[in-house]
């Protein structure tokens, strides 16, 4: 095997996962500040400019906390559960491209860790693995609240994975590919123009219902409010991670935020054209000559991807502090009675539109 490929892959892994894990503490800060401001408080504002060093202080606190290990837990699963959650959440990002592939010295370098030919299926598979972490944590904790949390989590994730998968199928049908880079490449160009505004050929305009279902299912899959029943602070204390503390707990925490980032990136990939530039941004590239233009294009693509993903990450926070938690039967009713039939109808409608040549 060519050593250069290994080196390039290693660099990509470090840079992309590094970027993701830098975003996690930033995200906790945004979450806490956003929550504060929406509730007419200030949030953490003491440490560093605007309280930006607060996550660092939190991290140090977690590191130095005693690694407590309750006597009644099933040790092996108790220890690997946070790891499973964390790794599953992080691995999703591996197939998401952050910019278009470029040719450097006759070698095509793609800005994604692995361009799998089953990219979307891989994401769906890996995101279900995260569920095992939660179930293991709930079961091994040997605690009734943790158990209820884990049970809720498994029921919720299985129910919403169907809606999620079906909403993604609509996108896959429209772009006729399950490869993430091909899906993004297919979202280039203009769908229609309305006066001065050009609507890009993004998934959200081709699959609006699919997008709606995806967003709802996304919240359920990441266990975020309004679907955070596995945690349910008010009813089952903290759900599956009730017996965890210190660094092991913070790993669940990081896993939650990482999966938020991953799902934001996935939503952008499927419905908002991934690294496709915002309409009108392309004119900037023409200003720079030759090599610089190519470099600028890559930077702008990464910037577009980041802005879009950041919006969805903010959307997670925004929704969390807006909507109250669903009741368990409401959650199940929404998943099975509303989202699943709607997703099935969406697929049927998409099929009809594709066969009639509209899409």
């Amino acid at each position: 095997m060519d050593i250069t490929i290994l080196v390039i892959s290693a660099i990509k892994v470090v840079v992309i996962f590094g970027a993701v894990f830098v975003c996690v503490p930033l995200m906790t800060w945004i979450e806490r500040r956003g929550a504060g401001l929406m509730q007419l408080r200030l949030g953490p504002s003491r440490l560093g400019p605007l309280g930006l060093f607060q996550p660092i202080a939190d991290g140090i606190k977690f590191l130095f906390k005693e690694d407590r290990e309750p006597a009644h837990v099933e040790k092996f699963f108790y220890f690997i559960a946070p790891l499973v959650c964390f790794i599953a959440a992080a691995l999703t990002f591996a197939v998401i491209p952050v910019a278009a592939p470029v040719n450097i010295a006759g070698r095509t370098i793609s800005f994604q860790i692995a361009d799998l030919n089953v990219g979307i299926l891989y994401i769906l598979a890996i995101s279900s693995v995260g569920l095992y972490g939660i179930v293991m944590a709930g079961w091994s904790s040997n605690n009734k609240y943790a158990m209820i949390g884990a049970l809720r989590s498994s029921a919720q994730m299985i129910s919403y994975e169907i809606a999620l998968g079906l909403s993604v199928i609509g996108v896959v049908m429209v772009f006729s590919s399950v490869v993430s880079s091909e899906i993004i490449a297919a979202q280039a160009g203009t769908l229609f123009s309305a006066g001065p505004f050009n609507f890009p050929r993004w998934g959200v305009f081709l699959q609006p219902i699919g997008f709606l279902i995806f967003v709802v299912a996304m919240f359920a899959e990441t266990n975020r409010l309004p679907f955070d029943l596995p945690e349910g602070e008010s009813e089952i204390v903290a759900g599956y991670h009730i017996e965890y503390g210190g660094l092991k707990w913070s790993m669940f925490f990081v896993a939650e935020y990482t999966s938020m980032i991953s799902f934001s990136a996935l939503a952008v990939t499927l419905f908002f054209g991934g690294w496709q530039l915002f309409p009108g941004m392309g004119r900037l590239v023409a200003l720079a000559p030759g090599m610089w233009g190519a470099a600028l294009l890559v930077v702008l693509q990464i910037l577009s991807f980041t802005i879009k993903t950041a919006f969805f990450m903010w959307f997670f926070v925004w929704v969390r502090w807006t909507l109250p938690r669903f009741r368990y039967d409401q959650l199940m009713a929404l998943g099975w009675k509303v989202l699943m039939p709607l997703a099935a109808l969406n697929i049927a409608g998409t099929l009809v539109l594709i066969r009639t040549g509209v899409l």
Binding site: G34, G36, L37, M38, Q39, L40, R41, L42, S45, L212, W318, V319, W321, T322, L323
Partner: protein, 152 residues
Amino acid sequence: MATRTRRVGPRKSLFHSIYIVDSFKGLWITMKYLLFRKKVTIRYPEERRQYSARFRGLHYIKTTNGVENCTACMLCPTVCPADCIHIEAGERADKEKYPVRFDIDIMRCCFCGMCEEACPKDAIKLSGVYDMSAAKRTVYDKEFLLVQRGNK
């Protein structure tokens, strides 16, 4: 036997039962709060709440030309419902009565302000100072009370 359920109250229309529009209304409300509403936080050590002029806080004994107004008339320990003022009276060289000791057991004090009302000499006063937490049980003695803290 299956439970029969009965709907109470008005039936929601399909438009409202989908929640999408209402969710977006909610999102707009939180965004409005985030961007435009005045935040209510008081950043405590730097910022302080404005209390009323009648606020009853830390005690002090008023002085005139460096001499305490108190004549040890014992009205304040008499009226004190918490029984927290302890005065030992003495006599000055000019035959005037004065408190040799004036202790306030601040742990017992309920800040009712009756001592202030009872005082005929305008000597014992309650100031607006409210941050008086301490690491141990404290009895304020005369030297402490003679310092004019935040007097009004």
